[in-house]
């Protein structure tokens, strides 16, 4: 028993130690200092602790995507590292690696590959649906559905495909981002704007938006409610907008429309 506690204690002590080893690398990356991050990740990638080694390899892959100047060879190396992690485990590093395999295909490689990005994201959602990586990937997969995957499909069908992803969203942030992406696509594709209203209302209810996005959403809800004849709802959101954005340049027109709704 004593030995078990001893070993347990060692493991517990080792976890923060491993974290602190790599924390400097991640901190450097938050400051966009990829070269500095590599100096931390590279020695740790051969650590005796497999978890530390895997996280370090993952860190190297991420750093390579931001090491200036980014070259195609670097991106290929990162892809190889991520593929290796995906093939050799099912831990958080593997989920993160799968996410970055999708992101490389989506945005990092010189010629984007929407189909490959979508394939990686779908597999990530299938394998690690509850993970932060999959929850993040949902809205990015939605963008692929809404704009690039099936350009021959009518916009309404693309919106419907994106709406199906809502079933996989398990956090308010992921769900809110999906609703916002869909509402924006409805406007962009010039579908009947009223279709965006339920998505915007859902996003507002879920919260998690930054201040600017929230301001825009409040105004969009107010305007679409006014156009739909939902006077009370429109008035509520004009009021909210005005209260939260006292210096916004739209205050004059918002006040004018609020007065119209309250007649």
């Amino acid at each position: 028993m004593r030995a078990a506690f001893f070993i347990g204690g060692l493991i517990c002590a080792a976890v923060p130690l491993a974290g602190s080893e790599l924390a400097a690398g991640w901190t450097a990356l938050t400051n966009y200092r990829a070269a500095q991050a590599l100096k931390v990740f590279d020695p740790a990638s051969t650590s005796a602790d497999p978890a530390v080694a895997r996280e370090a390899r993952f860190g190297r892959g991420v750093a390579l995507l931001d090491l200036q100047p980014v070259t195609p060879a670097q991106i290929e190396e990162a892809r190889g590292l991520f593929a290796g992690l995906v093939d050799s485990g099912a831990d958080d590093a593997a989920a993160g690696a799968r996410f970055f395999l999708g992101r490389i295909a989506q945005h990092h490689q010189a010629k984007p590959d929407a189909a490959e990005a979508a394939r990686q994201f779908r597999q990530l959602i299938a394998e690690h649906e509850q993970s932060v990586w999959a929850q993040t990937a949902l809205s990015r997969l939605a963008l692929l559905e809404l704009y690039e995957l099936n350009p021959a499909e009518p916009p309404a069908a693309r919106v419907a495909a994106a709406e199906k992803l809502l079933a996989h969203a398990h956090t308010p942030s992921a769900e809110s981002q999906l609703h916002l992406a869909i509402a924006n696509a409805i406007f962009y594709h010039r579908l009947p704007a009223g279709g965006a209203l339920p998505h915007l209302l859902a996003a507002e209810r879920l919260g998690r938006m930054d201040w600017i996005a929230r301001g825009e959403t409040l105004m969009e809800i107010a305007e679409l409610s006014r156009l739909a004849g939902e006077r009370a709802q429109a008035a509520k959101f004009y009021r909210l907008f005005l209260a939260e954005n006292p210096r916004d340049l739209r205050h004059y027109i918002a006040k004018e429309r609020l007065a119209e709704m309250e007649k």
Binding site: Y32, D66, W211, E220, E223, L224
Partner: protein, 525 residues
Amino acid sequence: MKLTGKRIGFALLGAAYLISVFLVARRSVEEVTSDRVTIRISQWQLEGGVREAIDAIIHRYEQLNPRVHVVQLAVPGGTTYLPWIQSQMVGGVGPDIVEYSWPWPDTARNFAPITAEVMQPNPYDRGTPLEGLPWRDTFVDGMTSPDNYVQALSQYYGVSMSTGIHRIVYNRQLVRTITGRDTAPRNYREFLALCEEISAYAKAHGLKLAPLANSRTTHISLTSEVIGNTTTRLAARVDFAHRLKLEPLDLAIAYVRGEWSYDSPELVASFQVLKEFGNECTPGFLQLERESALMDFVAGRAAMVVAPSWESSSLLQICPFELGAFRFPTPREDDPVYGKFTQGPFSEGQITTGMPFYLNRHTAHRAEALDFLRFLGSYEGSTIFTRVSSWLPVVVGVKPSDFSAQFAIQADGYNWYGGFLAPSNHGDCQNFWLSELYTLWGSGGSADKFRRALREGMGVPIRDGLRRDVMAGLENVRREDGAAAAAMELAPPASRPEVLRLVTIGNETNLYQARDVLTLAPPMR
């Protein structure tokens, strides 16, 4: 020892060296031995009064915070400042606070966002009418200017010090002599009538006198305002996202899709208003610099002048006559010709605040630099700045000084943000229409020729702008992916975010929309 010229030269050189060593050593020793923190602030506004205004703010701040010493680095603008600050930042020796601008490179890498801070009250506003308000809401525009809220990064970065508003300034004495009254025209028709009276007077008396002095630079913001005000109904029609606001990207997408064009009746009407306005200006003003326009006005060769607010204090000093000022009266709904196209009143809210200060991401004195930044953007800081520089304030409630009060922003009214002459996040569209103004105001120019020039040529810079939006969007996404993953890895397991903080979904959406609309065939020429 004989005192030769050579020896004197060596002695002077030696003395200079020793003085330099002493000065450098004293500063280093002071930094090491004193707990006083020195922060540096760089800026490029070398106009009269501005350096003095910053010095006055520093003086007051150091009284309040004796532990902090602030050094102002005033560096010439133009082609000097940007390379200088870039080399400083790359070398890791950049000032703690930097005057910067959002279109310049590497904002995210070099500067720290202040989003969390602007949502909180500014402690230096305690005891003022702004106490308790989020710092953001203490600025006249709610910090919505592109230099404050950097849209591509979805973060607040800059704290502005001033803004520029233009007015038509007039020579009261001369106008009174010509018309028997010295009040400002109340509407567009009265403005045209005033110009006609001035021209008739000049002709009758054989004078070289134009109604309005103007220049190739001072007309730009006025021209944009005329276009914006005359097209409010068109703006409402192309607001497909129902935000009561048009971003340049919205306008570019709608343009490429053929949802508006330079043949739109509202735009044709606005070009006609511009043509009429140009007819009243000094002949050949498109070739004149602003100094020439001022000279014409001061010398009595023009009864009015288009003047930006930062000229207001100079005008008072150099004009030997009484001045009046008014906002250009764009036609309103009751105008017999243009009324049907527009809906007012018009807000001047689409102000672009300027002289923004950014916080160095890698400063060794973040707390002190942020604190000084708060003082700069406080009620007291802005009051000092306005009093000493005579520039317009951007903090709510701070009164402009003397004559510049006539340049105070009129914020109430309709404003759709986006300008139909600048449907792009990049400068190419503006460069294009500026280069085509001769078709409007040049010899033989007309509103119709200008319309045709824009219709023929504007598509190219709009599409170029979209392509650059895509490239910039990709750069943002790529850069933030790594930082977001890193931030997530650093978060304690119990407080991990629900999703990674990538670029916002809105910004990534913009990238897709710009790329998608570029796949549409260009309209037929």
